[in-house]
């Protein structure tokens, strides 16, 4: 009975994993057979690639800033929504709606809103006599601009938090109130322990998504640079402005499918896999801190 599952495991997991590892030690450009070059790809990655460092730092920024901010905002909104009795359904729908918009459409809309020359945000700022920034066209503000988009689209996590919060037993709050606990104490000693599995789930999925961050950054780069579509050659726009939106996976894509450095892209994938596995191991280990005593 386990035969089909084993075949699936080998064909769709083990083989790609091993093949990728094998290619990472080769010079492979698609057009000719892979040539074994030992650790050369890894040497290039860690000591010579001029853009991989920037790409890794940008990715780290999204992991360290975007994930916690999205989680904090979605938990905060979910908490507020649990207290809202009137028109609760309407509010929940309103906050969830942005998550239904396809990411590409959201980015295109956001870049338009924050267009420094003709966008509504800067036009509004101008009416108040303020000079709007360059937003997606400024290397210092491009990532925070994407952060705004990430927060706007937090509905997916918010719904999960909301469900978890509504499941927290009311009697625990009532008992805490009888003991004179304040809002902060109730949140820290009752809410957080009760929803800790959901917090862990959000953190794990959020970090994985941030490590693989691609679409939003790629579209923002392209559209902010004056292109309305992702067409052939658009990969050369990845990272605009000044590599500030270049992420590790985008650079891996460029190396593999634009520069035909398949062996090098495989080495990048191996490094990403190892980093993701290490981060997950640390997260899951630390998750013990959130476990309820005796649970």
């Amino acid at each position: 009975m386990t035969g089909p599952a084993l075949i699936g495991l080998v064909v769709f997991f083990l083989y790609p994993l091993c093949a990728n590892l094998f290619y990472s030690f080769t010079n492979y450009d698609l057009a000719s057979p892979p040539k074994w070059i030992g650790l050369r790809n890894y040497t290039y990655l860690f000591t010579q690639d001029p853009r991989v460092g920037k790409a890794a730092l940008n990715t780290l920024w999204f992991v360290v800033i975007l994930v916690p901010v999205r989680m904090a905002c979605s938990l905060g909104i979910a908490l507020l929504l649990t207290r809202r009795k009137r028109a609760a359904g309407l509010w929940r729908t309103l906050f969830y709606l942005p998550a239904l918009v396809p990411p590409v459409a959201s980015v295109v809309g956001f870049v338009f809103l924050f267009n420094p020359g003709a966008g509504p945000v800067n036009t509004l700022l101008r009416t108040f006599g303020l000079k709007g920034p360059l937003w997606f066209n400024d290397p210092a503000l491009s990532k925070p601009s994407l952060l705004l988009l990430g927060v706007w689209m937090m509905g997916d996590i918010m719904v999960i938090f909301l469900a978890a919060l509504l499941d927290v037993p009311k009697d625990q709050y009532e008992a805490a109130e009888l003991d004179g606990a304040g809002s902060g104490s109730k949140f820290w000693y009752i809410t957080i322990p009760n929803i800790s599995p959901v917090v862990l789930f959000s953190a794990v999925t959020g970090v994985i998504a941030a490590l693989q961050y691609f679409t939003e950054a790629a579209v923002a780069s392209s559209v902010a640079n004056g292109k309305t579509g992702i067409d052939a050659g658009a990969d050369q726009l990845l990272g605009y402005p000044n590599d500030s939106l270049l992420t590790f996976t985008q650079w891996m894509y460029v190396q593999g499918f634009s520069s035909f450095q398949l062996g090098y892209a495989a080495a990048m994938a191996v490094v990403l896999f190892v980093i993701a596995a290490a981060v997950m191991a640390v997260l899951l280990r630390k998750a013990g801190l959130f476990r309820q005593k005796g649970a």
Partner: protein, 447 residues
């Protein structure tokens, strides 16, 4: 009670690992075929189905299909299956994985350095059938070979030049377009107008790298700035690059980087009717010959002219040429219909009526000399500028290398930072570009 059995140790795990590694090697396959010589004489009868893959889509794909239909009429026993709208990377992947491809059209500058290995050597076919490289305009014959292998021939080309708005120039008192970059800058500054708040209303010329067709490849040509020497990067030791980039950065500073960025971000899409030049928001622009067709379609009332792009004085560049690039077509080395595929390649590249039909339809510049001078070529005056430039000895392209567009992308990346003052010193920056390009080439050439 029996002690629980320990699970068996995976002593044979290493064998599984070896099997998987061997399997990976086997599946990686990628035999590239061989350059078997063609028969001594051309076949008297050709038949079979040729699979043609190319990157054209929409209207342009329809033009290619129409020329292919003509070919099928000429060779009634050959049928051609056309796979249009395929990106170069996809075509290379399909060919490399043994897919059913007989002939393929790709892009010279970004793909040929890799794709050439998968293509058959056309030299013996050309020698046998009397096809001469001197049949082609300018540098296109040279640009469509790589590593000493004649793996492809040019079909159509893109040529870059200067577009200028006659009305805006006349209003500022100019009757002629600029011939040097300094004249371009002087005119552009005079043509630039501002709103009351200091923001740009109309721009004379947008000097920002990254704006539409402003790239290191297209602008580098204006200074005759070289890319490689003996196969390695040579930008760091180039006086021309330093002169060109210094000029550009000073030009940007005179208007203001932030002002230019704000203005640029508010412009319409390059490929729509809102194009900044077509909409009269920019007086002069560096663009390809295709803009003539766009203007005919989208901005019929625009009074404009075209000219070769200005040259940087003292750089050794001669006014009259321009940056060029080409689409190349070759035969898959593993094709089982090589003769039929070669017949198609020969038809698309050396048959004058076919080349004219392609150029007229796609609105690119023909690479075949007889097509470029054909009276059947639809060549309005603005388009004629690019035909003349394509054969000018001063026209050139960026070199075909194993790293494709990484060559120019590395320079673009540095220049983009440099133009706003964050790129550090120019000489040191260019040396770093040299190093980065050489490292990328080194990885690609690693054995």
């Amino acid at each position: 009670m029996k002690a629980a059995k320990h699970p068996p140790r995976p002593r044979r795990g290493w064998r599984t690992g070896v099997c998987i590694a061997v399997g990976a090697l086997a599946l990686s396959g990628c035999a590239t075929g061989t350059d078997e010589p063609p028969s001594a004489a051309p076949p008297t009868h050709l038949s079979g189905t040729v699979q043609l893959w190319h990157h054209y889509s929409g209207r342009e794909a329809a033009v290619v299909q129409s020329v292919v239909d003509d070919f099928e009429k000429k060779y009634p026993d050959i049928s051609v299956d056309v796979h249009s709208a395929q990106q170069d990377t996809k075509i290379t992947q399909v060919v490399s994985s043994g897919g059913d491809v007989d002939a393929m059209i790709t892009n010279v500058n970004s793909t040929l350095g890799t794709a050439c290995k998968t293509m058959a050597d056309l030299a013996p076919y050309m020698k046998r059938d009397g096809v001469s490289l001197s049949d082609f305009q300018g540098i296109f014959a040279k640009a469509t070979a790589f590593g000493g292998r004649r793996c492809s021939l040019p079909t159509t080309s893109d040529v870059y030049g200067l577009y200028f708005n006659k009305s805006l120039l006349a209003r500022a008192g100019y009757t002629e377009p600029p011939r040097t970059l300094q004249q371009l800058e002087d005119m552009a500054l005079k043509l630039t107008t501002y709103h009351k708040d200091g923001s740009i209303r109309t721009l004379g010329f947008n000097p920002l790298i990254g704006f539409q067709q402003n790239t290191s490849a297209t602008l580098g040509h204006a200074a005759k700035a070289g890319w490689t020497k003996d196969g390695d990067s040579a930008v760091g030791s180039s006086r021309q690059w330093r002169a060109l980039m210094s000029w550009q950065q000073k030009f940007v500073r005179k208007i203001g980087y932030n002002k230019l960025k704000t203005f640029t971000a508010g412009l319409g899409d390059e490929w729509s009717a809102d194009n900044a030049f077509q909409a009269g928001r920019i007086a002069m622009a560096l663009d390809g010959e295709w803009r003539v067709a766009f203007i005919q379609e989208q901005a019929k009332h625009l009074r404009y002219g075209t000219a070769p792009f200005p040259a940087l004085a003292g750089s050794g560049q001669r006014y009259g040429g321009g940056f060029v690039s080409a689409a190349d077509i070759g035969v898959n080395k593993r094709s089982s219909h090589k003769e039929a595929a070669w017949a198609l390649v020969k038809y698309l590249t050396t048959d004058t009526p076919a080349a004219v039909k392609l150029a007229n339809g796609i609105k690119n510049i023909p690479t075949l000399k007889s097509a470029a001078t054909s009276p059947a070529l639809d060549a309005p005056a603005p388009y004629r500028t690019f035909i003349d430039a394509s054969k000018d000895p001063a026209s050139d392209t960026s070199p075909v290398t194993e790293i494709g567009s990484t060559l120019t992308a590395t320079m673009d990346d540095f220049w983009t930072g440099y133009q706003q003052g964050s790129g550090g010193g120019l000489a040191d920056g260019l040396k770093k570009v040299d190093e980065d390009i050489d490292n990328a080439l080194g990885l690609r050439r690693a054995k």
